[in-house]
Protein backbone atom coordinates (compact mmCIF):
# COMPACT_ATOMS: atom_id res chain seq x y z
CA UNK A 1 0.00 0.00 0.00
CA UNK A 2 1.45 3.31 -0.92
CA UNK A 3 1.04 6.41 1.15
CA UNK A 4 -2.24 8.28 0.99
CA UNK A 5 -2.33 11.94 1.77
CA UNK A 6 -5.49 13.18 0.13
CA UNK A 7 -7.64 10.09 0.21
CA UNK A 8 -6.49 8.40 3.43
CA UNK A 9 -9.80 9.21 5.14
CA UNK A 10 -11.99 8.80 2.11
CA UNK A 11 -13.56 5.60 3.39
CA UNK A 12 -14.46 6.96 6.83
CA UNK A 13 -18.26 6.93 6.93
CA UNK A 14 -19.67 10.45 6.94
CA UNK A 15 -16.36 12.15 6.08
CA UNK A 16 -18.40 14.42 3.82
CA UNK A 17 -19.83 16.12 6.89
CA UNK A 18 -18.14 18.70 9.00
CA UNK A 19 -18.51 16.77 12.27
CA UNK A 20 -16.81 13.63 11.07
CA UNK A 21 -14.15 15.54 9.14
CA UNK A 22 -13.32 17.59 12.22
CA UNK A 23 -13.35 14.56 14.49
CA UNK A 24 -10.86 12.89 12.16
CA UNK A 25 -8.44 15.74 12.67
CA UNK A 26 -9.75 18.11 10.04
CA UNK A 27 -8.94 21.82 10.13
CA UNK A 28 -5.83 21.14 12.22
CA UNK A 29 -3.71 22.85 9.59
CA UNK A 30 -5.72 26.05 9.95
CA UNK A 31 -5.14 26.03 13.69
CA UNK A 32 -1.48 25.25 13.32
CA UNK A 33 -0.88 27.84 10.60
CA UNK A 34 -2.78 30.65 12.25
CA UNK A 35 -1.66 30.04 15.80
CA UNK A 36 1.96 29.05 15.40
CA UNK A 37 3.14 30.15 11.97
CA UNK A 38 3.44 33.35 9.97
CA UNK A 39 2.02 33.41 6.45
CA UNK A 40 5.54 33.45 5.04
CA UNK A 41 6.42 30.35 7.02
CA UNK A 42 3.49 28.53 5.44
CA UNK A 43 4.69 29.62 2.00
CA UNK A 44 8.15 28.42 2.91
CA UNK A 45 6.86 24.97 3.88
CA UNK A 46 4.99 24.67 0.58
CA UNK A 47 8.15 25.70 -1.24
CA UNK A 48 10.17 23.09 0.60
CA UNK A 49 7.60 20.42 -0.16
CA UNK A 50 8.34 20.69 -3.87
CA UNK A 51 4.58 20.47 -4.48
CA UNK A 52 3.92 21.09 -8.16
CA UNK A 53 0.72 22.40 -9.68
CA UNK A 54 -1.61 19.48 -10.20
CA UNK A 55 -3.71 21.06 -12.94
CA UNK A 56 -1.39 19.97 -15.69
CA UNK A 57 1.50 22.38 -16.10
CA UNK A 58 3.35 21.18 -12.99
CA UNK A 59 4.65 24.60 -11.98
CA UNK A 60 6.02 24.61 -8.40
CA UNK A 61 3.19 25.85 -6.19
CA UNK A 62 5.37 27.50 -3.58
CA UNK A 63 7.16 29.50 -6.21
CA UNK A 64 3.86 30.62 -7.71
CA UNK A 65 2.78 31.78 -4.28
CA UNK A 66 5.95 33.73 -3.73
CA UNK A 67 5.33 35.71 -6.93
CA UNK A 68 2.15 37.27 -5.57
CA UNK A 69 2.47 41.01 -5.33
CA UNK A 70 2.31 41.92 -1.65
CA UNK A 71 3.90 45.35 -2.06
CA UNK A 72 1.12 47.11 -3.93
CA UNK A 73 -1.16 46.88 -0.92
CA UNK A 74 -4.06 45.83 -3.12
CA UNK A 75 -6.41 43.13 -1.86
CA UNK A 76 -5.20 39.68 -2.78
CA UNK A 77 -7.21 36.67 -3.87
CA UNK A 78 -6.78 32.95 -3.99
CA UNK A 79 -8.86 31.24 -6.63
CA UNK A 80 -9.19 27.50 -6.74
CA UNK A 81 -9.42 26.08 -10.23
CA UNK A 82 -12.08 23.39 -10.09
CA UNK A 83 -13.02 23.80 -13.73
CA UNK A 84 -11.85 20.27 -14.36
CA UNK A 85 -12.59 19.68 -18.05
CA UNK A 86 -9.56 18.00 -19.56
CA UNK A 87 -10.84 14.83 -21.21
CA UNK A 88 -9.69 11.90 -19.15
CA UNK A 89 -9.58 13.85 -15.89
CA UNK A 90 -12.14 13.54 -13.12
CA UNK A 91 -10.06 13.53 -9.95
CA UNK A 92 -10.99 16.95 -8.56
CA UNK A 93 -14.62 16.12 -8.73
CA UNK A 94 -13.97 12.96 -6.70
CA UNK A 95 -12.13 14.93 -4.05
CA UNK A 96 -14.76 17.65 -3.82
CA UNK A 97 -17.67 15.30 -3.88
CA UNK A 98 -16.45 12.92 -1.22
CA UNK A 99 -14.24 15.01 1.04
CA UNK A 100 -15.25 18.64 0.41
CA UNK A 101 -13.88 19.94 3.69
CA UNK A 102 -10.35 18.98 2.71
CA UNK A 103 -10.49 21.53 -0.10
CA UNK A 104 -12.06 24.14 2.15
CA UNK A 105 -9.42 23.57 4.80
CA UNK A 106 -6.75 23.89 2.13
CA UNK A 107 -8.34 27.10 0.85
CA UNK A 108 -8.33 28.65 4.32
CA UNK A 109 -4.75 27.70 5.11
CA UNK A 110 -3.54 28.77 1.67
CA UNK A 111 -5.48 32.04 1.75
CA UNK A 112 -3.89 32.78 5.11
CA UNK A 113 -0.46 32.11 3.62
CA UNK A 114 -1.14 34.50 0.75
CA UNK A 115 -2.86 37.11 2.87
CA UNK A 116 -6.00 36.79 0.78
CA UNK A 117 -9.22 37.92 2.42
CA UNK A 118 -11.57 36.99 -0.38
CA UNK A 119 -11.16 33.66 -2.10
CA UNK A 120 -13.18 31.69 -4.57
CA UNK A 121 -13.55 28.16 -5.76
CA UNK A 122 -14.39 28.23 -9.47
CA UNK A 123 -16.16 25.00 -10.31
CA UNK A 124 -17.36 23.96 -13.74
CA UNK A 125 -21.09 24.43 -14.20
CA UNK A 126 -21.76 20.81 -15.06
CA UNK A 127 -20.67 19.80 -11.56
CA UNK A 128 -23.78 21.51 -10.23
CA UNK A 129 -24.42 18.98 -7.50
CA UNK A 130 -20.81 19.31 -6.32
CA UNK A 131 -21.29 23.08 -6.35
CA UNK A 132 -24.15 22.56 -3.91
CA UNK A 133 -22.04 20.20 -1.79
CA UNK A 134 -19.33 22.83 -1.55
CA UNK A 135 -21.81 25.61 -0.78
CA UNK A 136 -23.15 23.58 2.12
CA UNK A 137 -19.68 22.66 3.33
CA UNK A 138 -18.64 26.31 3.26
CA UNK A 139 -21.71 27.19 5.30
CA UNK A 140 -20.79 24.49 7.82
CA UNK A 141 -17.22 25.74 8.04
CA UNK A 142 -18.43 29.27 8.47
CA UNK A 143 -20.85 28.25 11.22
CA UNK A 144 -17.98 26.53 13.00
CA UNK A 145 -15.92 29.72 12.91
CA UNK A 146 -13.34 28.75 10.30
CA UNK A 147 -14.46 31.49 7.94
CA UNK A 148 -15.63 35.05 8.38
CA UNK A 149 -14.24 37.78 10.57
CA UNK A 150 -11.40 37.36 13.04
CA UNK A 151 -10.87 33.63 12.53
CA UNK A 152 -9.66 31.91 15.72
CA UNK A 153 -9.24 35.31 17.27
CA UNK A 154 -6.21 36.03 15.11
CA UNK A 155 -7.65 39.08 13.43
CA UNK A 156 -7.52 37.33 10.06
CA UNK A 157 -10.70 37.62 7.96
CA UNK A 158 -11.59 35.38 5.08
CA UNK A 159 -14.61 35.18 2.84
CA UNK A 160 -14.76 32.04 0.76
CA UNK A 161 -17.35 31.43 -1.93
CA UNK A 162 -17.90 28.94 -4.66
CA UNK A 163 -18.56 30.24 -8.16
CA UNK A 164 -19.86 28.13 -11.00
CA UNK A 165 -18.91 28.19 -14.66
CA UNK A 166 -21.30 27.25 -17.41
CA UNK A 167 -19.63 24.95 -19.89
CA UNK A 168 -16.29 26.11 -21.24
CA UNK A 169 -13.08 24.09 -21.12
CA UNK A 170 -11.11 27.23 -21.77
CA UNK A 171 -12.00 28.53 -18.29
CA UNK A 172 -9.50 26.02 -16.94
CA UNK A 173 -6.85 28.40 -18.26
CA UNK A 174 -6.19 30.65 -15.30
CA UNK A 175 -6.72 34.03 -16.93
CA UNK A 176 -9.84 32.83 -18.76
CA UNK A 177 -11.06 31.56 -15.42
CA UNK A 178 -10.51 34.98 -13.90
CA UNK A 179 -12.39 36.63 -16.77
CA UNK A 180 -15.23 34.20 -16.25
CA UNK A 181 -15.22 34.90 -12.53
CA UNK A 182 -15.60 38.56 -13.41
CA UNK A 183 -18.75 37.68 -15.32
CA UNK A 184 -17.27 37.84 -18.80
CA UNK A 185 -16.61 35.55 -21.70
CA UNK A 186 -13.84 33.10 -20.96
CA UNK A 187 -11.22 34.70 -23.18
CA UNK A 188 -7.70 34.15 -21.89
CA UNK A 189 -5.85 37.35 -21.17
CA UNK A 190 -2.64 38.39 -22.78
CA UNK A 191 0.27 37.94 -20.41
CA UNK A 192 2.04 39.77 -18.92
CA UNK A 193 0.66 41.01 -16.60
CA UNK A 194 0.40 37.69 -14.82
CA UNK A 195 -2.38 37.12 -12.29
CA UNK A 196 0.15 37.34 -9.46
CA UNK A 197 0.34 41.04 -10.29
CA UNK A 198 -3.03 41.74 -11.89
CA UNK A 199 -5.60 39.01 -11.65
CA UNK A 200 -9.15 39.04 -10.37
CA UNK A 201 -10.51 42.63 -10.55
CA UNK A 202 -6.92 43.67 -11.35
CA UNK A 203 -5.80 42.53 -7.90
CA UNK A 204 -2.90 40.15 -7.24
CA UNK A 205 -4.28 36.64 -7.54
CA UNK A 206 -3.08 33.08 -7.28
CA UNK A 207 -4.95 30.36 -9.14
CA UNK A 208 -4.32 26.78 -8.01
CA UNK A 209 -5.83 23.45 -8.88
CA UNK A 210 -8.08 21.66 -6.38
CA UNK A 211 -5.59 18.88 -5.77
CA UNK A 212 -2.75 21.33 -5.21
CA UNK A 213 -4.72 23.16 -2.55
CA UNK A 214 -5.91 19.93 -0.98
CA UNK A 215 -2.29 18.89 -0.42
CA UNK A 216 -1.51 22.00 1.61
CA UNK A 217 -3.12 20.86 4.91
CA UNK A 218 -0.92 17.78 5.06
CA UNK A 219 2.18 19.81 4.29
CA UNK A 220 1.35 22.28 7.06
CA UNK A 221 0.40 19.56 9.55
CA UNK A 222 3.58 17.63 8.88
CA UNK A 223 6.22 19.58 7.05
CA UNK A 224 7.43 20.47 3.61
CA UNK A 225 10.41 18.23 4.11
CA UNK A 226 8.20 15.27 4.97
CA UNK A 227 6.21 15.82 1.80
CA UNK A 228 9.36 16.08 -0.26
CA UNK A 229 10.44 12.67 1.03
CA UNK A 230 7.54 11.09 -0.80
CA UNK A 231 8.12 10.59 -4.50
CA UNK A 232 11.24 10.76 -6.61
CA UNK A 233 13.43 13.75 -7.41
CA UNK A 234 11.44 16.80 -8.42
CA UNK A 235 8.23 14.75 -8.51
CA UNK A 236 7.38 14.96 -4.85
CA UNK A 237 4.32 13.79 -3.00
CA UNK A 238 1.31 11.92 -4.19
CA UNK A 239 -0.84 12.43 -7.24
CA UNK A 240 -4.41 11.62 -8.04
CA UNK A 241 -4.72 9.71 -11.27
CA UNK A 242 -8.03 9.41 -13.10
CA UNK A 243 -8.04 6.19 -15.05
CA UNK A 244 -10.46 5.52 -17.89
CA UNK A 245 -10.76 3.63 -21.13
CA UNK A 246 -10.14 -0.07 -21.58
CA UNK A 247 -9.00 -0.94 -18.05
CA UNK A 248 -10.47 -3.35 -15.60
CA UNK A 249 -10.88 -0.90 -12.73
CA UNK A 250 -11.35 2.64 -13.98
CA UNK A 251 -11.57 5.32 -11.31
CA UNK A 252 -9.56 7.75 -9.20
CA UNK A 253 -6.39 6.55 -7.48
CA UNK A 254 -3.90 8.27 -5.26
CA UNK A 255 -0.40 7.13 -6.05
CA UNK A 256 3.02 8.03 -4.78
CA UNK A 257 4.86 9.68 -7.62
CA UNK A 258 7.50 7.22 -8.76
CA UNK A 259 5.27 4.20 -9.02
CA UNK A 260 5.98 2.36 -12.23
CA UNK A 261 3.46 2.62 -15.04
CA UNK A 262 3.52 -1.16 -15.27
CA UNK A 263 2.51 -1.60 -11.64
CA UNK A 264 -0.17 1.05 -11.86
CA UNK A 265 -1.57 -0.50 -14.99
CA UNK A 266 -1.43 -4.13 -14.02
CA UNK A 267 -1.51 -4.59 -10.26
CA UNK A 268 -4.81 -5.39 -8.63
CA UNK A 269 -4.34 -2.55 -6.16
CA UNK A 270 -4.73 -0.17 -9.07
CA UNK A 271 -6.11 -0.73 -12.54
CA UNK A 272 -5.93 -4.51 -12.62
CA UNK A 273 -4.92 -4.73 -16.24
CA UNK A 274 -7.07 -4.48 -19.32
CA UNK A 275 -10.85 -4.65 -19.27
CA UNK A 276 -10.88 -7.59 -21.67
CA UNK A 277 -8.37 -9.96 -23.18
CA UNK A 278 -7.58 -7.52 -25.98
CA UNK A 279 -3.99 -6.26 -25.98
CA UNK A 280 -2.89 -2.78 -24.95
CA UNK A 281 -2.49 -0.52 -27.94
CA UNK A 282 -1.84 2.98 -26.66
CA UNK A 283 -1.90 5.22 -23.61
CA UNK A 284 -2.62 8.86 -23.00
CA UNK A 285 -1.03 9.36 -19.60
CA UNK A 286 -2.02 12.91 -18.69
CA UNK A 287 -5.29 13.99 -20.21
CA UNK A 288 -6.26 14.51 -23.85
CA UNK A 289 -3.74 17.28 -24.47
CA UNK A 290 -0.63 15.24 -23.92
CA UNK A 291 0.96 13.10 -26.62
CA UNK A 292 -0.33 9.57 -27.00
CA UNK A 293 2.18 6.76 -26.42
CA UNK A 294 2.24 3.58 -28.48
CA UNK A 295 2.40 0.23 -26.68
CA UNK A 296 6.16 -0.14 -26.92
CA UNK A 297 6.83 3.17 -25.17
CA UNK A 298 4.42 2.78 -22.29
CA UNK A 299 6.21 0.59 -19.78
CA UNK A 300 9.74 1.37 -20.93
CA UNK A 301 11.27 4.61 -22.11
CA UNK A 302 13.16 4.73 -25.38
CA UNK A 303 16.36 4.01 -23.41
CA UNK A 304 14.86 0.87 -22.01
CA UNK A 305 14.39 2.24 -18.50
CA UNK A 306 11.21 1.58 -16.56
CA UNK A 307 8.61 4.25 -17.25
CA UNK A 308 7.54 5.76 -13.93
CA UNK A 309 4.58 7.86 -12.94
CA UNK A 310 6.60 11.06 -12.50
CA UNK A 311 6.73 14.34 -14.36
CA UNK A 312 10.23 13.52 -15.56
CA UNK A 313 9.89 9.88 -16.55
CA UNK A 314 6.68 10.35 -18.48
CA UNK A 315 8.25 13.15 -20.48
CA UNK A 316 11.49 11.25 -20.98
CA UNK A 317 12.46 11.34 -24.61
CA UNK A 318 10.61 14.59 -25.25
CA UNK A 319 7.73 14.48 -27.66
CA UNK A 320 9.60 12.05 -29.91
CA UNK A 321 9.25 9.12 -27.53
CA UNK A 322 7.68 10.56 -24.38
CA UNK A 323 4.58 12.30 -23.21
CA UNK A 324 3.61 14.23 -20.05
CA UNK A 325 2.07 13.61 -16.65
CA UNK A 326 -0.26 16.52 -17.28
CA UNK A 327 -3.37 16.44 -15.16
CA UNK A 328 -3.13 12.69 -14.57
CA UNK A 329 -5.90 11.69 -16.94
CA UNK A 330 -4.79 8.14 -17.70
CA UNK A 331 -6.63 6.90 -20.81
CA UNK A 332 -5.96 3.35 -21.89
CA UNK A 333 -6.69 1.99 -25.37
CA UNK A 334 -6.85 -1.61 -26.46
CA UNK A 335 -6.57 -2.74 -30.04
CA UNK A 336 -10.26 -2.19 -30.81
CA UNK A 337 -9.68 1.56 -30.58
CA UNK A 338 -9.02 3.55 -33.72
CA UNK A 339 -6.33 6.15 -33.26
CA UNK A 340 -7.64 8.22 -36.16
CA UNK A 341 -11.11 8.28 -34.71
CA UNK A 342 -9.75 9.11 -31.28
CA UNK A 343 -7.65 11.93 -32.68
CA UNK A 344 -10.62 13.27 -34.59
CA UNK A 345 -12.67 13.10 -31.41
CA UNK A 346 -10.08 15.09 -29.47
CA UNK A 347 -9.82 17.59 -32.31
CA UNK A 348 -13.56 18.05 -32.29
CA UNK A 349 -13.28 18.74 -28.59
CA UNK A 350 -10.65 21.46 -29.06
CA UNK A 351 -12.54 22.92 -32.00
CA UNK A 352 -15.64 23.09 -29.83
CA UNK A 353 -13.76 24.60 -26.91
CA UNK A 354 -11.62 27.17 -28.69
CA UNK A 355 -12.64 30.60 -27.43
CA UNK A 356 -12.20 32.16 -30.86
CA UNK A 357 -10.08 35.03 -29.75
CA UNK A 358 -6.84 34.43 -31.61
CA UNK A 359 -6.47 33.42 -35.21
CA UNK A 360 -4.38 30.22 -35.23
CA UNK A 361 -6.56 28.45 -32.69
CA UNK A 362 -9.90 29.74 -33.94
CA UNK A 363 -9.26 28.78 -37.54
CA UNK A 364 -6.76 25.97 -37.07
CA UNK A 365 -8.70 23.78 -34.65
CA UNK A 366 -11.70 23.68 -36.96
CA UNK A 367 -9.50 22.89 -39.93
CA UNK A 368 -7.83 20.02 -38.07
CA UNK A 369 -11.19 18.59 -37.15
CA UNK A 370 -12.54 18.79 -40.67
CA UNK A 371 -9.53 17.08 -42.20
CA UNK A 372 -9.54 14.34 -39.55
CA UNK A 373 -13.25 13.83 -40.06
CA UNK A 374 -12.69 13.31 -43.75
CA UNK A 375 -9.93 10.78 -43.16
CA UNK A 376 -11.96 8.90 -40.57
CA UNK A 377 -14.90 8.78 -42.94
CA UNK A 378 -13.04 7.49 -45.94
CA UNK A 379 -12.64 10.78 -47.77
CA UNK A 380 -9.03 11.34 -46.89
CA UNK A 381 -6.34 12.09 -49.39
CA UNK A 382 -2.75 10.95 -49.14
CA UNK A 383 -1.58 14.56 -48.74
CA UNK A 384 -3.97 15.15 -45.84
CA UNK A 385 -1.59 13.50 -43.40
CA UNK A 386 1.14 16.00 -44.16
CA UNK A 387 -1.46 18.74 -44.20
CA UNK A 388 -2.50 17.81 -40.66
CA UNK A 389 1.10 17.85 -39.57
CA UNK A 390 1.56 21.26 -41.10
CA UNK A 391 -1.59 22.76 -39.58
CA UNK A 392 -0.79 21.58 -36.09
CA UNK A 393 2.75 22.92 -36.34
CA UNK A 394 1.37 26.31 -37.35
CA UNK A 395 -0.97 26.49 -34.38
CA UNK A 396 1.51 25.34 -31.78
CA UNK A 397 3.31 28.14 -30.01
CA UNK A 398 1.56 30.89 -31.92
CA UNK A 399 -1.53 31.34 -29.77
CA UNK A 400 -2.43 33.45 -26.76
CA UNK A 401 -2.97 30.53 -24.42
CA UNK A 402 -1.95 26.87 -24.29
CA UNK A 403 -5.21 25.59 -25.81
CA UNK A 404 -3.58 25.89 -29.21
CA UNK A 405 -0.72 23.68 -28.09
CA UNK A 406 -3.14 21.27 -26.46
CA UNK A 407 -5.01 20.94 -29.74
CA UNK A 408 -1.81 20.40 -31.70
CA UNK A 409 0.01 17.85 -29.58
CA UNK A 410 -2.46 14.97 -29.82
CA UNK A 411 -2.55 15.30 -33.60
CA UNK A 412 1.20 15.45 -33.88
CA UNK A 413 1.71 12.46 -31.60
CA UNK A 414 -0.90 10.38 -33.40
CA UNK A 415 0.79 10.98 -36.73
CA UNK A 416 4.24 10.45 -35.24
CA UNK A 417 3.42 7.07 -33.75
CA UNK A 418 0.50 5.82 -35.82
CA UNK A 419 1.10 7.17 -39.28
CA UNK A 420 0.38 3.79 -40.85
CA UNK A 421 -3.09 3.86 -39.39
CA UNK A 422 -3.79 7.17 -41.11
CA UNK A 423 -2.47 5.74 -44.36
CA UNK A 424 -4.71 2.74 -43.97
CA UNK A 425 -7.73 5.02 -43.60
CA UNK A 426 -6.78 6.95 -46.69
CA UNK A 427 -5.99 3.94 -48.85
CA UNK A 428 -8.75 1.60 -47.79
CA UNK A 429 -11.80 3.78 -47.29
CA UNK A 430 -14.19 0.87 -47.73
CA UNK A 431 -12.61 -0.98 -44.80
CA UNK A 432 -13.21 1.79 -42.28
CA UNK A 433 -16.80 2.59 -43.12
CA UNK A 434 -18.12 1.15 -39.90
CA UNK A 435 -17.13 3.29 -36.90
CA UNK A 436 -16.10 0.17 -34.98
CA UNK A 437 -13.80 -0.91 -37.79
CA UNK A 438 -11.04 -2.23 -35.58
CA UNK A 439 -13.26 -4.32 -33.33
CA UNK A 440 -13.54 -7.27 -35.67
CA UNK A 441 -10.28 -6.65 -37.45
CA UNK A 442 -7.67 -4.84 -35.33
CA UNK A 443 -5.09 -2.80 -37.11
CA UNK A 444 -2.31 -5.29 -36.43
CA UNK A 445 -4.07 -7.76 -38.68
CA UNK A 446 -4.16 -5.34 -41.61
CA UNK A 447 -0.95 -3.45 -40.98
CA UNK A 448 0.81 -5.37 -43.75
CA UNK A 449 -1.42 -3.60 -46.27
CA UNK A 450 0.27 -0.29 -45.62
CA UNK A 451 3.69 -1.37 -44.39
CA UNK A 452 6.58 -0.31 -46.50
CA UNK A 453 8.00 -3.31 -48.23
CA UNK A 454 11.48 -3.68 -49.55
CA UNK A 455 11.71 -5.67 -52.72
Amino acid sequence: MSKKILLDKINVPGIKTYEVYRREGGYASVEKAMKSMTPDEVVEEVKKSGLRGRGGAGFPAGMKWSFIDKKSGKPRHLVCNADESEPGTFKDRYLMEFIPHLLIEGMITSSFALGANRSYIYIRGEYMWVFKILERAIAEAKAAGWLGKNILGTGYDLELHVHCGAGAYICGEETALIESLEGKRGNPRIKPPFPAVSGLWANPTVVNNVETIAAVPWIVNNSGDDYAKIGIGRSTGTKLISASGHVKNPGVYEIELGLSVDEFMNSDEYLGGMSSNRPLKALVPGGSSVPILPADLIFKTANGEDRLMTYESLSDGGFATGSMLGSGGFIVYDDTACIVRNTWNFSRFYHHESCGQCTPCREGTGWLEKVLWRIENGQGREEDIDLLWSIQSKIEGNTICPLGDAASWPVAAAIRHFREEFEYHVRFPERIKDRNHFVAEPFDKVRHLVSKQTV
Binding site: G88, T89, G125, W129, C164, G186, S242, S288, N342, F346
Partner: protein
Protein backbone atom coordinates in the same frame (compact mmCIF):
# COMPACT_ATOMS: atom_id res chain seq x y z
CA UNK B 1 -26.09 36.62 -36.70
CA UNK B 2 -29.77 37.37 -36.45
CA UNK B 3 -31.51 35.18 -33.92
CA UNK B 4 -35.01 33.89 -33.87
CA UNK B 5 -37.14 35.43 -31.22
CA UNK B 6 -38.96 33.23 -28.73
CA UNK B 7 -41.60 34.30 -26.25
CA UNK B 8 -41.20 33.35 -22.62
CA UNK B 9 -43.23 34.09 -19.55
CA UNK B 10 -40.98 35.73 -17.00
CA UNK B 11 -41.59 35.05 -13.39
CA UNK B 12 -39.07 36.44 -10.96
CA UNK B 13 -40.43 34.82 -7.86
CA UNK B 14 -39.55 35.91 -4.39
CA UNK B 15 -37.48 32.81 -3.72
CA UNK B 16 -35.60 33.34 -6.97
CA UNK B 17 -34.87 36.95 -6.05
CA UNK B 18 -33.73 35.88 -2.59
CA UNK B 19 -31.32 33.42 -4.15
CA UNK B 20 -30.08 36.03 -6.62
CA UNK B 21 -29.44 38.47 -3.81
CA UNK B 22 -27.58 35.80 -1.90
CA UNK B 23 -25.38 35.16 -4.92
CA UNK B 24 -24.79 38.89 -5.32
CA UNK B 25 -23.59 39.06 -1.74
CA UNK B 26 -20.70 36.78 -2.67
CA UNK B 27 -18.99 39.55 -4.62
CA UNK B 28 -17.91 43.07 -3.72
CA UNK B 29 -20.61 45.72 -3.99
CA UNK B 30 -19.10 47.26 -7.13
CA UNK B 31 -18.45 43.93 -8.84
CA UNK B 32 -22.00 42.76 -9.37
CA UNK B 33 -21.20 41.62 -12.88
CA UNK B 34 -19.17 38.80 -11.37
CA UNK B 35 -22.40 37.13 -10.31
CA UNK B 36 -23.55 36.88 -13.91
CA UNK B 37 -22.83 33.20 -14.50
CA UNK B 38 -24.39 31.84 -11.30
CA UNK B 39 -27.36 34.20 -11.64
CA UNK B 40 -28.00 33.07 -15.21
CA UNK B 41 -27.98 29.47 -13.99
CA UNK B 42 -30.57 30.22 -11.32
CA UNK B 43 -32.78 32.23 -13.63
CA UNK B 44 -32.59 29.57 -16.31
CA UNK B 45 -33.44 26.77 -13.89
CA UNK B 46 -36.51 28.72 -12.81
CA UNK B 47 -37.65 29.29 -16.40
CA UNK B 48 -37.93 25.87 -18.04
CA UNK B 49 -34.19 25.66 -18.51
CA UNK B 50 -33.85 28.33 -21.17
CA UNK B 51 -33.20 32.04 -21.46
CA UNK B 52 -35.11 34.41 -23.70
CA UNK B 53 -33.80 37.81 -24.71
CA UNK B 54 -36.29 39.41 -22.33
CA UNK B 55 -35.08 37.27 -19.47
CA UNK B 56 -31.48 38.14 -20.20
CA UNK B 57 -32.45 41.82 -20.30
CA UNK B 58 -33.98 41.35 -16.87
CA UNK B 59 -30.72 39.88 -15.58
CA UNK B 60 -28.83 42.82 -17.08
CA UNK B 61 -31.12 45.17 -15.23
CA UNK B 62 -30.62 43.35 -11.91
CA UNK B 63 -26.84 43.37 -12.26
CA UNK B 64 -26.72 46.92 -13.61
CA UNK B 65 -24.92 45.93 -16.81
CA UNK B 66 -25.69 46.32 -20.51
CA UNK B 67 -27.88 43.70 -22.17
CA UNK B 68 -25.16 42.98 -24.73
CA UNK B 69 -22.83 41.98 -21.90
CA UNK B 70 -25.31 39.29 -20.92
CA UNK B 71 -25.79 38.11 -24.51
CA UNK B 72 -22.04 37.89 -24.99
CA UNK B 73 -21.71 35.66 -21.98
CA UNK B 74 -24.83 33.59 -22.52
CA UNK B 75 -23.77 32.71 -26.07
CA UNK B 76 -20.23 31.84 -25.03
CA UNK B 77 -21.04 29.15 -22.49
CA UNK B 78 -22.70 25.99 -23.65
CA UNK B 79 -24.91 25.43 -20.61
CA UNK B 80 -27.19 28.34 -21.36
CA UNK B 81 -30.01 27.44 -23.70
CA UNK B 82 -31.25 30.30 -25.80
CA UNK B 83 -34.38 28.66 -27.11
CA UNK B 84 -37.04 26.40 -25.67
CA UNK B 85 -35.78 22.87 -25.16
CA UNK B 86 -37.07 19.48 -24.10
CA UNK B 87 -37.88 19.13 -20.43
CA UNK B 88 -35.56 16.17 -19.99
CA UNK B 89 -32.38 16.86 -21.83
CA UNK B 90 -30.14 13.81 -22.14
CA UNK B 91 -26.69 15.24 -22.56
CA UNK B 92 -24.40 12.36 -23.46
CA UNK B 93 -20.71 12.88 -23.06
CA UNK B 94 -19.31 12.02 -26.48
CA UNK B 95 -15.63 12.71 -25.90
CA UNK B 96 -13.18 9.95 -26.58
CA UNK B 97 -12.97 8.26 -23.16
CA UNK B 98 -16.72 7.76 -23.11
CA UNK B 99 -16.78 6.63 -26.74
CA UNK B 100 -14.27 3.91 -25.90
CA UNK B 101 -16.96 2.55 -23.62
CA UNK B 102 -19.76 2.57 -26.15
CA UNK B 103 -21.41 5.98 -25.90
CA UNK B 104 -22.08 6.24 -29.60
CA UNK B 105 -24.05 3.02 -29.71
CA UNK B 106 -25.99 4.06 -26.66
CA UNK B 107 -26.83 7.43 -28.17
CA UNK B 108 -28.11 5.71 -31.28
CA UNK B 109 -30.21 3.46 -29.09
CA UNK B 110 -31.67 6.36 -27.15
CA UNK B 111 -32.45 8.36 -30.28
CA UNK B 112 -34.12 5.39 -31.88
CA UNK B 113 -36.15 4.71 -28.78
CA UNK B 114 -37.33 8.29 -28.53
CA UNK B 115 -37.73 8.66 -32.27
CA UNK B 116 -35.55 11.76 -32.54
CA UNK B 117 -32.19 12.68 -33.97
CA UNK B 118 -29.35 14.17 -31.97
CA UNK B 119 -30.19 17.76 -31.09
CA UNK B 120 -33.91 17.25 -31.61
CA UNK B 121 -36.81 17.45 -29.18
CA UNK B 122 -39.56 14.86 -29.06
CA UNK B 123 -42.95 16.04 -30.29
CA UNK B 124 -44.36 16.07 -26.76
CA UNK B 125 -41.56 18.40 -25.68
CA UNK B 126 -40.42 15.96 -23.02
CA UNK B 127 -37.09 14.70 -24.30
CA UNK B 128 -34.09 16.00 -26.09
CA UNK B 129 -30.88 14.11 -26.91
CA UNK B 130 -27.62 15.95 -27.19
CA UNK B 131 -23.98 15.08 -27.52
CA UNK B 132 -21.76 17.24 -25.36
CA UNK B 133 -18.05 17.41 -24.69
CA UNK B 134 -16.22 15.86 -21.75
CA UNK B 135 -18.23 16.05 -18.54
CA UNK B 136 -15.47 14.76 -16.27
CA UNK B 137 -16.82 11.28 -15.65
CA UNK B 138 -14.47 9.39 -17.96
CA UNK B 139 -14.03 6.47 -15.57
CA UNK B 140 -17.75 5.98 -15.19
CA UNK B 141 -18.59 5.85 -18.89
CA UNK B 142 -20.90 5.78 -20.69
CA UNK B 143 -22.71 8.59 -18.97
CA UNK B 144 -24.96 11.55 -19.43
CA UNK B 145 -26.05 14.66 -17.63
CA UNK B 146 -29.70 15.08 -16.78
CA UNK B 147 -30.50 18.34 -15.06
CA UNK B 148 -28.02 18.94 -12.26
CA UNK B 149 -27.05 15.30 -12.01
CA UNK B 150 -24.96 12.68 -13.75
CA UNK B 151 -26.24 9.25 -14.75
CA UNK B 152 -23.24 6.97 -15.02
CA UNK B 153 -22.29 3.45 -16.07
CA UNK B 154 -25.21 3.57 -18.48
CA UNK B 155 -26.62 0.56 -20.25
CA UNK B 156 -29.59 0.15 -22.53
CA UNK B 157 -31.61 -1.10 -19.58
CA UNK B 158 -30.69 1.93 -17.50
CA UNK B 159 -31.68 4.23 -20.35
CA UNK B 160 -35.06 2.48 -20.55
CA UNK B 161 -35.51 2.96 -16.83
CA UNK B 162 -34.56 6.62 -16.92
CA UNK B 163 -36.98 7.30 -19.76
CA UNK B 164 -39.73 5.53 -17.85
CA UNK B 165 -38.91 7.51 -14.70
CA UNK B 166 -39.04 10.75 -16.63
CA UNK B 167 -42.43 9.85 -18.01
CA UNK B 168 -43.59 9.05 -14.46
CA UNK B 169 -42.29 12.37 -13.23
CA UNK B 170 -39.87 10.61 -10.88
CA UNK B 171 -36.74 12.45 -11.95
CA UNK B 172 -35.50 15.46 -9.99
CA UNK B 173 -33.71 17.89 -12.27
CA UNK B 174 -32.47 20.52 -9.89
CA UNK B 175 -31.18 20.44 -6.36
CA UNK B 176 -32.90 23.44 -4.78
Amino acid sequence: MERKHYEQEINMTESLMTRINELLSHYPEDKKKSALLPVLHEVQDAHDNWLSIALMDKVAEILGILPIEVYEVATFYTMYNLKPIGKYMFEFCQTSCCCLRGTEDLMDYTCEKLGVGIGETTADGLFEVRGVECLGACGYAPMMQLGDFYKEHLTKEKIDQIIADCRDNKIILHDK
